[in-house]
């Protein structure tokens, strides 16, 4: 961020003298001073290239004033610039005329019509009359260059924003310029479609209607749209978004440029899975995740039957009372709630009922007390850290925009990346040091990194270890990005590794790469054993985590369980245990969507979801931002807070949290946790709890950088421009309860590797079978077939080739699956995606050996 106080050059623009830092781009300095220089190719989040020539201005030089591109020129002391002379105007008009020469005049039918920078520029500056009488350039009209993106080459103005995004920002040049001269065109390879998970960004930054998104095409005209600014809760990065609707129908999500978070970028899952939110409200198929739950339901004679809220709440309260005591009650889930919703549920379940059996994670996360005790790094910290150690799944698949931020740091700023991993990742090629660990070895390598001797038999060499140790030093300037890379590896192995590093590198900071949207907020609200609202911790308490709850449900100890959003069956790896547990216990499901869990539910309470609700969420770095409703929830779905409050009343206790605003107020008063009112009034980029936050000036939003946002009418939450001051959250009363010393994690013994078996890595994929994907047909088409990936040499002895079917012998069952080879997969391991299906069956549960901290599979010819 530009620190406006550290200026040391003076330039003159149109006679006004301006202060700037050396090296700043002229176009930005001028803009800050209110002189907007027209532009097309320049984008503030990418390197300038100066190709469109729209931004030419006169700059004095040794040979008199010459025309220079303001977007490319760095200011130097004494620079004298003229932006409005006749010569400048002629040059700019000339460029505009050249751009329009071959541009089709199809604005009335163009998706970009009404929000098109080229159209705007033409209206503002164009002569209105064309001197171009020649035949225009012709291409076949829109061609699908990928599953989600269409390209109309006739409209392209060759600004190269999309191709630069692909190669420079996403790091995958799946589209590139082809041809030369005025036949130049953006093109994918015929053998590799544009299937980047970031493809939507190219559509968003296209300054004309050349790139359009299949899910949005022809769905609305800009002048019919309204928008609010909100936070995407598809994953825990918490990208800021503009959510647009036409009437009560969501039409589009665009990335808003949040300086500390997403820089305007989004992943395609967050951008294009709107269909799942609008959902299928008419479907009665409550087992399908594509179905929106619009009415309360109660199981009557074996069937879930729509009832009134009163009846449903009464039945739910009865099931809670019937459990016979606080310890027979528990709750699983909560990461999809808002902070206010999570707070209300915590107050009800722990506060009113007295249950400690709360867990927002589904057993695929990390130890909650450990998480809350780590010294936290922000995304910016990680992106600016000279040394980053990752011990997490593939970030591109888990937390896509965090991947973009980190990729920039390694690719363009050459920061050091140490990757400690069992499976290949999209960052691997940028890593300075790769510490290859088989599943089960993470913890011993972590110990070796902080001084223990390297045990024999690992894949890491002494020299690799030494190099990594040297880079890590005592942890100063180091950020450790820690997550759960492998759902088939005992969580305690990872917890142990993290705790080891936290103790051994006391100056290192941690960015916790948990994926579920508001998992951090839910934990901050106390939705886990021993935690308390406001990031608090009670060492004396104890409670059941998800796994323990499932066991207790199955054996009858925990008789009534509230499922707070999310599907237990879809998320818990041990599906068989989950099914037994849900069958044995009473289940109250609070959810916006259908799903397999509802087969076991006794009461279903419909909740509003993303883009339908007010409140705050906390992203993975602990930043609290406001979410805003753009549409109203379908049917009689209620906000989370209201459901908790009303159920509490029905149970017999008034929480005093009847609305989101009330909940927010109580939350702040009792814990000091940043509240909604503050965010709504002031803090655009959010507030990081427990960390110092310096004031941040918000850019005025350049319509050219983010077409489609400035042109749309904003309602509800404040206008997204202007300068705001962020809170210094350390002055708040946030109780940081635990320290790393409070965390005791026993080491786990890992069985010796079996030379004939492969250790399984169950890795998350962005395109999974979750609710968002299942409810969005356009994107669902991109979910890959489930396959097993192994090192080619591990397949050789079977005489099978990549793509063949292989027979897998697992602890529970044998099954057949397609196998692919990849030289970057470690020998002796195999990688499978978590949560995708083979022939409609979730194989994950049958793959994993729940009796062992690691899973070994044997492959055979079918």
């Amino acid at each position: 961020m530009t620190d406006v106080t550290r200026t040391n050059v003076t330039i003159t623009v149109d006679g006004h003298s301006l202060e700037a830092q050396p090296g700043e781009l002229l176009i930005e300095v001028a803009e800050r001073a209110g002189s907007y220089i027209p532009r097309f190719c320049y984008h503030p989040r990418m390197e300038p290239v100066g190709v469109c020539r729209m931004c030419l201005v006169e700059v004095d030089g040794p040979r008199g004033a010459t025309l220079q591109p303001a977007c490319y020129l760095k200011v130097t002391d004494g620079m004298n610039v003229t932006t409005g002379s006749d010569k400048v105007k002629k040059a700019q008009d000339g460029v505009l005329e050249f751009l329009l020469a071959n541009h089709p005049l199809d604005c009335p039918v163009c998706d970009k019509g009404g929000e098109c920078p080229l159209q705007d520029q033409t209206l503002a500056h164009g002569s209105g009359e064309t001197r171009f009488v020649e035949e225009k350039r012709h291409f076949v009209k829109p061609i699908a260059i990928g599953e989600l993106v269409l390209l109309d080459r006739e409209r392209c103005i060759q600004c190269s924003r999309c191709t630069r995004f692909a190669s420079e920002v996403a790091g995958e040049a799946q589209i590139a310029f082809a041809g030369r001269g005025d036949l130049i065109e953006v093109a994918p390879s015929p053998t590799q479609p544009f299937d980047s998970i970031f493809s939507g960004n190219t559509v968003q930054i296209c300054p004309v209607g050349a790139l359009t998104a299949k899910p949005y095409r022809f769905s609305a005209r800009p002048w019919d749209l309204e928008q609010v600014e909100s936070t995407c809760t598809t994953c825990a990065v918490g990208c800021r978004v503009a959510v647009q609707s036409s009437g009560n129908r969501l039409t589009r999500v665009l990335g808003v440029d949040s300086e500390p978070v997403n820089h305007g970028w989004l992943c395609d899952k967050g951008r294009f899975t709107l269909d799942s939110i609008d959902g299928d409200c008419d479907s009665r198929d409550v087992l399908s995740a594509a179905t929106r739950i619009t009415e309360p339901m109660v199981r009557i004679e074996g069937e879930l039957t729509p009832v009134s809220w009163g009846v449903a709440l009464g039945e739910a309260a009865r099931l809670l009372h019937e459990a016979g005591g606080a310890d027979a009650i528990g709750a699983i889930g909560g990461a999809s709630l808002t902070n206010e919703g999570a707070f209300a549920w915590e107050r009800f379940l722990r506060g009113a009922i007295g249950s400690e059996n709360l867990d927002a994670q589904f057993g695929d996360g990390l130890d909650p007390v450990l998480l809350q005790s780590l010294p936290l790094a922000s995304i910016d910290d990680a992106a600016n850290a000279p040394v980053v150690l990752t011990m997490t799944g593939d970030l591109r698949e888990e937390l896509p925009v965090l991947f973009l931020r980190l990729r920039e740091s390694f690719a363009h700023h050459h920061h050091t990346l140490i990757e400690l991993a069992s499976a290949p990742s999209a960052l691997r090629s940028l890593a300075s040091h790769v510490l290859a660990v088989r599943p089960g070895e993470t913890s011993v390598i972590a110990q070796a990194l902080v001084g223990a001797t390297l045990p024999v038999g690992t894949l890491v060499s002494e020299s690799e270890l030494d190099a990594a140790r040297a880079a890590l030093g005592d942890g100063s300037g180091v950020v450790i990005v820690a997550g759960r890379a492998n759902a088939a590896e005992d969580q305690r192995l990872v917890d142990h590794a993290i705790a080891t590093l936290a103790r051994g590198l006391p100056r290192a900071k941690f960015l916790v790469a948990l994926r579920r949207s508001n998992v951090r907020g839910a934990l901050d609200m106390g939705l886990a054993p021993r935690l308390r609202p406001g990031r608090g911790f009670d060492a004396a308490s104890a409670g059941r985590d998800t796994h323990a709850q499932l066991v207790a449900m199955a054996d009858g100890t925990q008789r009534t369980t509230v499922v707070l959003g999310g599907c237990v069956i879809g998320n818990v790896v041990d599906v068989a245990l989950a099914a037994r547990a849900l069958t044995a216990a009473n289940v109250i499901a609070v959810t916006g969507h259908g799903g397999a869990t509802l087969a076991f539910a006794d009461v279903v309470l419909p909740a509003s979801v993303q883009h339908e609700r007010t409140g705050t969420v906390t992203n993975l770095e602990g930043r609290v931002t406001a979410v805003a409703p753009k549409i109203s929830a379908p049917g009689s779905a209620w906000p989370d807070v209201a459901i908790a409050a009303e159920l509490a009343l029905e149970w017999g206790e008034d929480l005093g949290l009847g609305s989101v605003e009330l909940a927010a107020q109580v939350l702040e008063e009792t814990t000091g946790y940043a509240a909604l009112s503050v965010l709504q009034d002031q803090a655009y980029d959010g507030v990081v709890m427990g960390m110092n936050v310096t004031p941040v000036a918000r850019h005025a939003m350049d319509p050219m950088a983010f077409p489609g946002i400035r042109s749309t009418k904003t309602v509800g939450l404040g206008d997204s421009t202007g300068t705001t001051t962020l809170l210094d959250a350390t002055s708040g009363a946030v109780t940081l309860g635990a320290t790393v010393a409070d965390v005791v994690i026993a080491p786990v013994d890992v069985p010796l590797a079996d030379a004939y078996a492969l250790r399984l890595v169950l890795a998350r994929r962005l395109y999974d079978r979750g609710i968002a994907m299942q409810g969005s047909p356009d994107v669902a088409a991109l979910v890959p077939e489930t396959t097993l990936t192994v090192h080619p040499r591990d397949l050789d002895h079977l005489g099978l080739a990549s793509g063949a079917k292989v027979k897998v012998r697992a602890a529970a069952t044998d099954f057949e699956i397609s196998v692919l080879t990849d030289e970057t997969v470690l020998r002796g391991t195999c990688v499978a995606p978590l949560g995708t299906l083979v022939d409609g069956v979730n194989l994950v549960a049958s793959m994993v050996d729940f009796s062992s901290p690691v899973t070994q599979l044997r492959l055979e010819t079918p």
Binding site: L67, A91, S160, D182
Partner: protein, 434 residues
């Protein structure tokens, strides 16, 4: 009369059939200069080149010695030789790479020694298939001879030279575009600043780019001394230079002439050189330095072949190619063909060149083939002005590289010199010559 007594510096083996072989090269004094250079200090070698005042032969005419020393503050990492030769009607480097590849290689080694670089690239136009083979063979021979590779001729200097084939794109002659091609990318010229590859060149490291002919002069300069070279020619234009003469002359070809001492009239009309025009034809116009240059008419025939002499009259000696048009040729057609060339060869990255070149070409096409309008003439000039504001020389530009402002040269020249011909095309509804 032409002054033809200057020594042949780069075309001395012109009359030898197997001039491209190592044996012949050695027999005719090859690799003597390199041995001598290796006994000198590198900076002394550079100083000879500086003394010679050797102007770059690629088009821009920047003194090679200054290019080398200017950058001396940071050591140069790479030497890149520009053999892309694609400027229409320029064919002197073609001659050099096919007929005297060892002379080029020796020059490159000498330059590399002076610059103390250990890696050099010779970028050769891809269409020079035979040239590629000959230069590669010369390099193979040089390795075998010990003139190249590790510890050259037993000295403490090692060098590797890689021949890099282009693949058909005029713009790759522009030095930054050439570097992009050498990095394996599309040949998009780099935006300036930095103005010189010497600051950020290949892989972002300091790089010297010089033309094939520039390099080929070095063996002679080392053998004979920079002062002997500087004694030829006059003013800033020293030594000799290869001129490629083409178009409507009896005897087109490549001629090595002492700079300044000869004029355009000499090269076009001397019987030993161009031999004049076909019987009964008179000179209408000529392009003095490649199609990027503004045209000259009969009035400028006596202009000496010198960089500043031509520059003073508003054009350039450029790549050393001279295209002659006689009174039977259609200037509108020639102009159209030149704009078609630029339109085809525009790299396409910046708007005024990409769109402007195509637009201008289409107007020129209509003028030549029917459908031209009188207002097209002013439109042409205005479009040219939008690419090269002011239409002055040397040109200003709205584009990234100077291919842009090269487009207007011929259009502006032809329109100013032969407006009547354009009007005749409009009135006739196409080319009256057809």
């Amino acid at each position: 009369m032409a002054s033809l007594d200057a020594p042949r510096i780069v075309s001395s083996r012109r009359d030898v059939a197997d001039s491209f072989t190592l044996n012949r090269y050695l027999e005719t004094g090859g690799y003597v200069a390199l041995r001598r250079a290796l006994t000198m200090f590198p900076e002394a070698v550079a100083a000879e080149v500086d003394k010679a005042s050797l102007l770059g032969r690629g088009g821009a005419g920047f003194p090679a010695g200054r290019k080398w020393s200017m950058l001396r503050r940071s050591p140069i990492s790479y030497l890149v030789v520009n053999g892309d030769e694609s400027e229409p009607a320029t064919f002197k480097d073609h001659y050099l790479v096919e007929r005297d590849p060892h002379q080029l290689v020796e020059g490159v080694i000498i330059a590399a020694y002076a610059l103390q670089v250990t890696q050099a690239f010779i970028f050769l136009r891809g269409e020079f298939a035979l040239g590629l083979e000959r230069v590669q063979q010369a390099l193979n021979d040089a390795y075998a001879l010990g003139a190249l590779g590790s510890k050259i001729f037993g000295s403490n200097f090692s060098l590797d030279i890689v021949v890099h084939p282009g693949a058909g794109a005029y713009i790759c002659g522009e030095e930054t575009s050439l570097l992009e091609a050498l990095e394996g990318k599309r040949g998009f010229p780099r935006i300036k600043p930095p103005f010189f590859p010497a600051v950020t060149g290949l892989y972002g490291e300091p790089t010297v780019v010089n033309n094939v002919e520039t390099m080929s002069n070095l063996p002679w300069i080392i053998n004979n001394g920079g002062e002997a070279f500087a004694a030829l020619g006059a003013g800033r234009s020293t030594g000799t230079r290869l001129f490629a003469l083409a178009g409507d002359v009896k005897n087109p070809g490549v001629f090595e002439l002492e700079m300044v001492k000869n004029s355009f009239r000499d090269i076009i009309f001397d019987p030993a050189l161009g031999g004049g025009l076909a019987e009964g034809r008179t000179l209408k116009a000529f392009i003095p330095g490649g199609v990027s240059a503004p045209w000259f008419g009969p009035d400028q025939l006596d202009t000496p072949l010198g960089q500043d002499e031509v520059g003073a009259l508003g054009s350039m000696l450029g790549s050393g190619s001279i295209v002659v048009m006689d009174d039977a040729s259609c200037v509108v057609r020639a102009t159209w063909r030149i704009t078609k060339f630029f339109s085809r060869e525009s790299c396409g990255q910046c708007t005024p060149c990409r769109e402007g070149s195509g637009w201008i070409e289409r107007i020129m096409y209509r003028l030549e083939h029917g459908g031209g309008r009188l207002e097209d003439l002013d439109l042409l000039l205005d479009l040219c002005d939008n690419i090269a504001p002011g239409l002055s020389w040397p040109p200003q530009q709205t584009t990234i590289c100077v291919l842009g402002p090269s487009i207007p040269s011929s259009v502006h020249s032809a329109l100013s010199m032969f407006r009547d011909d354009f009007v005749a095309h409009v009135n006739h509804g196409g080319c009256p010559h057809d």
